[in-house]
């Protein structure tokens, strides 16, 4: 038996004047963790604002729990949203901030206080909950936002780039927390422009670009598509020509371009995973010292360019 869709979008479009926010998107978000993936300006935040009723659709219909999402306070009892906006009631403490907002739900102060404490503890903010938000670091502010979103135990959690501002440890902890919520059968919609971060949390993704929905489904299928997409890696080393010759012997290498002035070589490869294994061999077996490595086209935009085949979308 098919699970009831939590969120349904039917031919949804949203324009900001002449700028497309999202265009004719039809999708259903099912139980579990759903990753919303796309470069900056893809329409992820617009999509989330539409789902949570913060903005209205220019065309089409959005249903949350079977009800119209736009300006509907009823769905807010079952939905929590962490936006990208880095703004708070700065002069309040983290605890006071969440408690005050929970009381707007009609909760008694004791219940609101308890829920706020629990949420902040979950996000590792217990030692700082009685400090003013204006004294928080960016990571603390981000955790406070997520804590607010989960504080009323919503059925659906919508997180817009929740890993922004977190250090490596914080990112890891947040990813673990989200995975835990998934295991607890909570429904999470999470947006990011970093594929591997989404991959760590879920297999189910929606890919967007330029307001269009490019792909929907299992992340493995997307990865298979990406295998066909060559990557360019720049290496600075003591012997660029030697490095170029080494990599040209590999079947996965498409091209090698030496930049003499920079002591660098740009390798175009079909398999970036295998490339890094070969890089170790370059250093250990050939004795060529590598001083700098970077993926020359490592951004989701290039991937999306590839997937979309330019404007309009591939799928």
């Amino acid at each position: 038996m098919e699970a009831t869709p939590l969120i349904e979008l039917r031919e949804v479009s949203r324009w900001y004047g002449e700028v497309i926010g999202v265009n004719r998107i039809t999708a259903t978000l099912r139980p579990g963790i759903t990753g919303l993936l796309g470069p900056n300006g893809a329409g992820k935040s617009t999509m989330m604002n539409l789902i949570t009723g913060m903005i209205s659709a220019s065309d089409g219909e959005i249903l949350a729990f079977g009800e119209p999402a736009w300006s509907n306070p009823r769905i807010m009892t079952r939905l929590g949203y962490c936006t990208q906006a880095d703004a708070f009631y700065e002069k309040m403490t983290g605890l006071e901030f969440i408690e005050s907002l929970l009381m707007l739900r009609g909760w008694m102060r004791s219940k609101a206080n308890s829920a706020a404490r629990h949420a902040l503890q979950q996000l590792g903010m217990a030692p700082n909950m009685n400090r003013r938000i204006q004294s928080y670091s960016k990571g603390m502010r981000q955790r406070t936002k997520v804590a607010l979103a989960i504080s009323h135990n919503p059925e659906i959690l919508v997180l817009d780039e929740p890993l922004n501002g977190l250090d490596a440890v914080g990112r890891h902890e947040m990813i673990e927390l989200i995975r835990q919520w998934g295991k607890e059968s909570r429904n999470v919609i999470i947006s990011s422009h970093v594929l591997h971060e989404i991959e760590e949390m879920t297999n189910n993704i929606l890919m967007m670009r330029g307001g269009y929905l490019l792909a929907e489904g299992d992340v493995k299928e997307v990865r298979e598509n990406l295998r066909e997409h060559p990557h360019q890696v720049l290496i600075r080393c003591t012997d660029p020509r030697g490095a170029a010759l080494f990599f040209m012997e590999r079947e996965t290498t498409i091209s090698a371009k030496v930049e003499e002035l920079d002591n660098a070589v740009i390798i175009e490869t079909r398999d970036v995973g295998l490339f890094y294994s070969d890089l170790n061999s370059l250093v250990l077996d050939r004795g060529i010292d590598v001083t700098f490595v970077t993926v020359a086209d490592e951004n989701i935009t290039s991937i999306f360019d590839y997937l979309s085949g330019g404007a309009g979308g591939k799928n």
Partner: protein, 289 residues
């Protein structure tokens, strides 16, 4: 469809009011209210100080100052002038303009509006809570200011003179009435500007309205019916310095009690309803697309 839970709405309203008061106390609004509340007190203080020094610290009733004799009645008329033209026509008016323009706009500018919209609270209740929080704060500030101004103006007459004016002559009753009128004016103007500000972003419109309110005193009664100051002024216990049988006697004519009640109630109800409706259709678009 779920039944509306009246007790839930009440709790939400109280929570929104408390949150609004907390926010106002920590915002520019509080300083604006304080400045506008203190202004008449400063004026009263200057008058009191001048009178005391001119009378040679006599603290008697009446007072003799160079060229004149000042009694309690004259000072009371001065206070009445301060209430009409200081409080009602200026301080309350501009505080309400400031409130109307900043109630939700400040939340939007600070990108915190979505926190309110993300709660399961009807949006009209957000407006109502903001309004109630403003009233709580503003009424307290202005009633305190009114009392202080009155006491300062009576100070030159000494304790005996103050007692005579306030208790013996019944001034305290009139002071309570004046306090109620000022509170009502705060409520009515706030509702009015809450509605108008939801349409107009620029506060320049307030200058036009202020000009109208000021000049309408000199217009025929038919046109004065469209001025809110007209209604407030005629609820004051001691009205105008203008003599009824004088050249400007037409300015003394007032609206009836029923008309006043209907007009002011309509302004508050329509103003809040319109502001609530505008808020229910308002979007949060300050996040990136």
């Amino acid at each position: 469809m779920e039944k509306t839970d009246a007790s839930l709405l009440l709790r939400q309203f109280i929570a929104m009011t408390r949150l609004s008061v907390k926010r106002y106390l920590r915002s520019r609004f509080f300083w604006a209210a304080l400045v506008l509340g203190i202004l008449p007190v400063l004026i009263a203080g200057v008058i009191a100080f001048t009178t005391i020094t001119a009378s040679g610290f006599a603290f008697t009733t009446p007072l003799t100052v160079p060229g004149a004799t000042v009694d309690v009645q004259e000072m009371t008329q001065g206070f009445m002038f301060l209430v009409q033209y200081g409080y009602l026509n200026f301080c309350v008016f501009f505080l309400a303009v400031f409130f109307g323009n900043s109630a939700l706009r400040e939340e939007s500018d600070e990108q915190t509006l979505h926190y309110l919209f993300l709660q399961p609270i009807p949006r009209w209740l957000i407006v109502a809570g903001k309004y109630a929080g403003f009233l709580l704060l503003a009424v307290h500030i202005f009633l305190g200011s009114l009392l202080l101004s009155q006491l300062l103006l009576l100070l030159p007459f000494g304790p005996k003179g103050m007692w005579e004016a306030l208790v013996t002559n019944g001034r305290v009753v009139h002071l309570i009435q004046e306090g109620m009128v000022v509170s009502l004016a705060i409520a009515v103007w706030a509702a009015f500007f809450l509605a108008v500000s939801s349409v107009f972003r620029n506060m320049l419109y307030a200058l036009f309205i202020y000009g109208w309110e000021t000049t309408s005193n000199f217009l025929p009664e038919t046109l004065r019916n469209f001025s809110l100051s007209y209604y407030f002024k005629f609820m004051l216990p001691e009205r105008s310095l203008i003599k009824e049988n004088g050249a400007l006697g037409f300015m003394v004519e007032g609206p009836g009690g029923i008309q006043t009640f209907i007009v002011l109630t309509l302004v508050v109800c329509l103003g809040l309803t319109f502001a609530g409706w505008m808020t229910s259709t308002r979007e949060c678009t300050y996040t990136d697309a």
